[in-house]
């Protein structure tokens, strides 16, 4: 999965139109970034990126760049 594809998955998780989510976007200002979105990201990382995210990582994340960094090793 590429970083751009990861961002498209984030669009889906956040119930946004494809191409909406950008790098460096502040999560506090992102509508839809809530506990349900976190579950979606945990599931995506588990099943598609073989990465086990933690609750602490997710609640500490400030921007979409922080989310990308959590799975960066698995992105091409």
């Amino acid at each position: 999965m590429t970083t751009d594809q990861f961002l498209i998955h984030l669009d889906e998780i956040l119930n946004r139109a494809e191409g909406t989510t950008k790098r460096g976007e502040a999560l506090a200002d992102t509508e839809g970034w809530d506990s349900l979105a976190m579950l979606g990201l945990i599931a995506l990382a588990d099943s598609d990126l073989d990465t086990r995210l933690t609750g602490k990582q997710l609640t500490a994340a400030k921007t979409t760049d922080d989310l990308i960094a959590m799975v960066a090793e698995k992105l091409s």
């Binding site: 506990s35 349900l36 976190m38 579950l39 588990d46 099943s47």
Partner: protein, 366 residues
């Protein structure tokens, strides 16, 4: 811990729910229509049954028990032990099972006790009941499992308000030397106890006016120390990581494969979580029956209510190779695998709002 029990049969299951139906769509008035729709879509919970004020889990379990005993044709005097599994018992004391023994008209020489567990409680109840029977300590056990979860949820708590429903169930367990083995896998991680907790009401934090005060949370919800607090992210992480391993273990013990298991009955927490667990196990959702659309998360009662709601005919007519898995509050988890049925599955009992026992006041005025 993996164990196997032989010579024990599950003879029947019944479930009872309150008559009152609450549609989650109605929550749009409080949280906004878009937010309510999003929660419904993710959790799969469309409507729930909610008990009337003052109605207890025992008020639901007893009609289920009455119906099951009648459908089985069991003489009440033949029940050797009564187990009541709930986190919402009638009183701090006495044990609800003692009151239920009397209300059900079971004999005085019947053993009766409570088990305080939630999402894993049905499997633990089956484990204890079948263990008593296998050990020769009882020939017939009535297992009552129910919860009034809605009583502990604040309607202003966005994370929990739309998830929980109320239900009471009854399961009959008896000795049968020809019954196939039941295989159990149980586990506990109390380090995660904080992720699903009602802080006040026990001895650690006694109820007071302070614990009843509403407080605001980071997500804009409101709840008090006497309400359930759920960290959904941590519960999801626990469930999706521990549960598949538990199910693989119990399926191996029962010599069941993904192709030979007839149904995987999962605790009805939320549909998104269940899909993720099934995907991890490579078991199609066609083998994962759901009841949460109609009843929500009824805690310990979700497994038996799913048997009644979604597997009644297969279980009435023939043997079914099943895995039942409960997981959540504690953190606690348990799974049982084996061949179930044919057995009695009673039709769903609907309990009117007026069906409740009077309060025992200890001689004081209410």
């Amino acid at each position: 811990m993996t164990t196997s029990v032989r010579g024990v049969r599950i003879a029947g299951v019944a479930a009872a729910v309150p008559e009152q139906i609450v549609a989650n769509e109605q929550a749009g008035e409080r949280f906004g229509a878009a937010e309510a729709a999003k929660i419904i879509k993710s959790t799969g919970i469309v409507r729930r049954r909610v008990a009337a004020d003052g109605q207890c889990a025992s008020d639901l379990c007893i009609p289920a028990g009455e119906r099951l005993l009648a459908d089985l044709g069991w003489d009440k005097a033949s029940v050797d032990a009564l187990i009541f599994v709930s986190q919402t018992g009638d009183y701090l004391l006495p044990a609800t099972a003692c009151l239920v023994q009397h209300r059900l008209g079971l004999r005085k020489s019947c053993a009766a006790f409570d088990l305080t567990l939630g999402c894993s409680g049905y499997v633990y109840g089956l484990w204890v009941a079948s263990g008593l029977v296998a050990a020769g300590l009882a020939k017939r056990v009535l297992l009552l499992v129910g919860e009034i979860s809605t009583r502990r949820v604040n309607a202003a708590d966005r994370a929990a308000a739309l998830l929980f429903g109320d239900a009471g169930t009854a399961t009959a367990i008896e000795a049968d030397p020809d019954a196939p083995a039941l295989h159990f896998e149980l586990g506990t991680d109390g380090a995660g106890g904080e992720h699903l907790v009602v802080p006040a009401g026990g001895c650690r934090l006694l109820p007071s006016t302070r614990t009843a005060e509403l407080q605001s949370t980071e997500d804009g919800s409101q709840r008090s120390l006497g309400d359930v607090a759920m960290n959904g992210v941590e519960v999801f992480i626990f469930s999706t990581r521990e549960v598949p391993a538990m199910i693989r273990t119990v399926m191996t013990a029962a010599e069941l494969g993904t192709d030979t298991v007839d149904a995987l009955v999962l605790h009805q927490a939320n549909e998104f979580m269940l899909k993720h667990i099934a995907k991890s196990l490579k078991i199609p959702m066609t083998k994962v029956p759901l009841s949460l659309h109609e009843f929500g998360n009824t805690s310990s009662a979700t497994l038996p209510i799913t048997l009644v709601h979604a597997l009644a005919e297969p279980l009435r007519t023939g043997p079914q190779r099943l895995v039942l898995a409960g997981f959540g509050v504690g953190l606690s988890w348990g799974a049982v695998a084996g061949t179930f049925g044919p057995m009695v599955i009673s039709p769903l009992v609907e309990v009117p709002a007026t069906a409740m026992y009077p309060v025992l006041t200890g001689g004081l005025a209410l």
